[in-house]
Symmetry: C2
Subunit: 408 residues, 2 copies
C-alpha cells in the first residue's frame, strides 16, 4: 500500500485565465491524483474486465466503487474483514465511493419494474412518503425504504447508514447521501428534494465526523466527505445548494443530478463559481463524450467518473480521435490497422481492428478486455492531455483541435 | 518476433531410467519449448479471457489453435493477410494447429443435433460414405463433407485442404488430417478408420512438403508436420499405427483418439515404445487432471494440450494442490486466503478466495480472467515441476507426493 502521506489535501498548481479551469493535485492516504482526472468506474469493486495492473496500465489513478452495490454484495462487513476495499480488490491507489443515493432511487425503485426515474410525485412534501402501489422505494425525511434489486429484501437507507457503510468499506473519499430527482420532476419538487438533500448533508457530515474520530482511535487514516450539490436544472436552486453546502465543512464536493450534456456549462458555471476554490469538485457519473470532459474542466471540474467507457467497450463501441466506431461492423474484418493510429494503449500497440473484430464475432472475452483497455486509456489520456493544455495555457486551442477532428 | 533459430529440431537432455519419460527441448522458428510442456489452448486464436502477456505470465511457452474454428471464423485468408497467426493474435512464441479432424467429426456432425460421437456406422467401409439422414458429415476416402456448426454451409475437407489451411494460418507445428472414431465404435470400424487415417497421413505429408517448398521460395520459415496415431483402445491397432507412421518422415507425432484417463498408460506405452525416440510426441486434447500429466510424461509424452483449465476456470472450478474447489460455493464468501497457499500465480499473489467468490457472484468478467490465470499456471507449473523431477531423478517420489496430497 502506498502510504506516503496520511493527510488529505488539495493543491492548485495552475489556473486558466478567464475561466474556472484549474490543474491541481488531490493528496490522499493512498496516493495522489493529478487533476483534472478521470476516476475509473469500479462499481462492484472491480473495473469491469480489467485487472488492477491493466487499470494502472491505462493510467488510471483512482477508482470509484458503489456503496449500494457493495452493501448488497458482498456486504460491507466482508470488505472490512478483507482489510478494506483497497486490499479486497488489490487496488493500492485512491478509492472513491458514492453514497448509494443514486442507486437507491434508480435501482431500488426499479426493482421488478424496470428503471423509472419519472415516478417521483411532485406533490410529495418533506413529511409525506412518496409511495405508489408499484413503487418499492419509500421516501421520508428520515431516509429511504427500498428493496434490493437483487433479491427484493427491504432496506432502510439513511444518511447515517450510508456513512457507516462507506466507512466500513474504507474508501478514501466518500459522498454525502443525497436524493436524486427525476429530470422530469417539476421545480417545486426539485426544491423540496434539495432541501431534504441539505438536511441529509448535515446529518451525513455529523455521522462522518463521529466515525472519523473512531477511526483515529483505531489508528486508521481519516476519510474525507464530499457534499453533493443538487438543484436540477434550476439556476436558483443550484446556486442556493452550492451556497448552503459551501459553509458546512466538507472536504470537497460532488455535483449530482441527471442533466443533458448541453446543460453542463450552465450548471457547472452556477455551482463552481460559488463553491470554495480550494476544494476539489467531482462531476458525478458524467464524462462519456470528449465534450463533457472539455466543458467539465472549462467550468471548474477536477474529477469525473462514468461507466460508459467500459460498458460501451463491451458492446464493441470504441473511441477514436476521429469519432466512435463499432468494431462489430463487418467492414473491420480485414482491417489490419490499430483501433486508433495515434493511440499508444496496450491494445493499439499490439492488436489490429481485424483481430478485435474477430474476438467480438467469436464472442471471446478477450475482446471486451482489449476494448475496455482502449476506451479507458482514451478517456484517461484525454483528461491528461487537457491537464497539460491548461498547464501550457493552450486549453482552448487544444479543445478546438480535438473536437473538430473528433466530429469531422 | 523471436527468430533465434530458423530450424526445427528436438533435443533430449535427460531420460528417466526404466521409463519412457524424458526431458527435452523443441526448437521452432518462434522459439524453444522446454519439455515436458503444457501447450495452452487458443482455439479461436485467443487463450480464452487472457491477454498474450498474461499467457506468458503463467509460464505458457506455446499455444494450440484450431484449424476448424479458424477456417470458419475469421477464415484462414484473413490470418494470412494479418501476417500469420503469430502476428494476428500477437503471440510471439511457438504455435501448434490441429488438423481440424477432431472438430469436423465432432462439431461438423453435430450441427443442429448436439455432439454425438456414437453415430459412426461400424458397417462403413473405406469405399462407402457413412451417411444417415440426420448426419451432416459424409465420410469418403477422399475426405469429409460436413456442415459448418456456425452457419450450416457445406465444406469438403480433405487432407490436402487441411494442410493448405494450416500453412495459410502459418503455425509452427501442424497435425496430419485424421479420422476420429467414436469410443463406442467396434474394432472392425476402428481398423478401417485407422487405415484411412494412414492413407490421409501420406497425402497430408505429400501436400505439406509441396507447401514447404513454396514457403522456401517465399523466404518463409519451414513448418513441420506431426503424424497422428490412431487405433482406439486396441493394442494391435495402436502398435500398427505407430509402426506405419514412424517410417514416413514426420517431424513428430500426435497421439489422437478419445480414451479414458485410465487407458493412458496402456495406449501410450504401446505407441511410444515404437515411435522414434528422437521425435517429439504430443498427446492431443488430454491433460485436465494431474494424473494425466504424470502418466503422460511417465509413458513418453513431451507435450500436452487441453481446454479444460480455462473452461473449468470460467465455471468456477479451480485447481489447488489439495484438489479442486468450486469458488462459487458460499463457504468461500469470507475466506481471505488465496486460492492455493503454495501457488505463486498473479491471482494467488494478489487476491483472496472471498474476492474471486464475489466476482463470480456478481458475474464480473474479471472472475473468469483471474480463475483462468490460476488454472493455466497450475497446469503449466505442474508440468514444469515434473520436468525438474525427471531432471533430478526423483520423478516417482514427486508423483507420489503430489498425487497423495491432491487426493487426500
Amino acid at each position: 500500500m502506498i502510504m506516503t502521506d496520511n493527510s488529505f489535501r488539495f493543491t492548485i498548481e495552475s489556473q486558466l485565465k478567464g475561466s474556472l479551469a484549474r490543474v491541481g493535485t488531490i493528496h490522499t492516504p493512498h496516493g495522489a491524483i493529478q487533476t483534472p482526472a478521470f476516476i475509473v468506474g469500479a462499481t462492484n469493486a472491480t473495473v469491469k474486465a480489467l485487472t488492477p495492473d491493466q487499470v494502472m496500465g491505462v493510467g488510471g489513478q483512482a477508482v470509484l466503487a458503489n456503496t449500494y452495490h457493495l452493501m448488497l454484495r458482498p456486504g460491507a462487513d466482508i470488505i472490512r474483514s478483507a482489510g478494506g476495499i483497497h486490499k479486497f480488490m488489490n487496488w493500492p491507489g485512491p478509492v472513491f465511493t458514492d453514497s448509494g443515493g443514486f442507486q437507491v432511487f434508480s435501482l431500488g425503485m426499479a426493482y421488478k419494474k424496470g428503471i423509472d426515474l419519472t415516478s417521483h410525485s411532485s406533490k410529495g412534501d418533506a413529511k409525506t412518503a412518496v409511495h405508489t402501489s408499484d413503487q418499492l422505494a419509500v421516501l421520508a425525511d428520515d431516509g429511504v425504504r427500498f428493496r434490493s434489486h437483487l433479491d427484493g429484501r427491504e432496506i432502510f437507507m439513511t444518511p447515517e447508514l450510508s456513512m457507516e457503510l462507506q466507512h466500513t468499506i474504507g474508501a478514501d473519499i466518500h459522498m454525502a447521501f443525497d436524493e436524486l430527482t427525476s429530470p422530469l420532476a417539476g421545480e417545486d419538487y426539485v426544491a423540496l428534494a434539495m432541501e431534504r438533500t441539505h438536511r441529509w448533508a448535515v446529518r451525513s457530515l455529523t455521522r462522518h465526523k463521529e466515525l472519523n474520530r473512531e477511526h483515529k482511535k483505531d489508528n486508521l487514516p481519516p476519510q474525507v466527505l464530499f457534499g453533493v450539490v443538487q438543484g436540477g436544472r434550476s439556476e436558483n436552486l443550484r446556486k442556493s445548494s452550492a451556497k448552503f453546502l459551501s459553509n458546512l465543512g466538507f472536504d470537497g464536493f460532488g455535483i449530482g443530478g441527471i442533466f443533458e450534456a448541453g446543460e453542463i456549462p450552465n450548471v457547472l458555471n452556477w455551482v463552481n463559481s460559488i463553491l470554495p476554490e480550494n476544494k476539489p469538485r467531482h462531476l458525478l457519473g458524467m464524462g462519456s463524450q470528449p465534450e463533457d470532459l472539455f466543458m467539465g474542466v472549462e467550468y471548474g471540474t477536477d474529477t469525473f467518473d462514468c461507466v460508459a467507457p467500459t460498458r460501451q467497450a463491451r458492446n464493441g463501441t470504441l473511441y477514436t480521435y476521429d469519432g466512435r466506431i463499432n468494431i462489430k461492423n463487418s467492414r473491420f474484418k480485414g482491417d489490419f490497422t490499430p483501433l486508433d493510429g495515434s493511440c499508444s494503449c496496450y491494445t493499439c500497440r499490439n492488436f489490429s481492428r481485424a483481430y478485435i473484430h474477430h474476438l467480438f464475432a467469436a464472442k471471446e472475452m478477450l475482446g471486451a478486455t482489449l476494448a475496455s483497455i482502449h476506451n479507458e486509456f482514451f478517456v484517461v489520456q484525454t483528461l491528461e492531455s487537457i491537464r497539460h493544455s491548461v498547464l501550457n495555457g493552450n486549453f482552448r486551442q487544444f479543445k478546438d483541435q480535438f473536437l473538430s477532428r473528433y466530429h469531422s
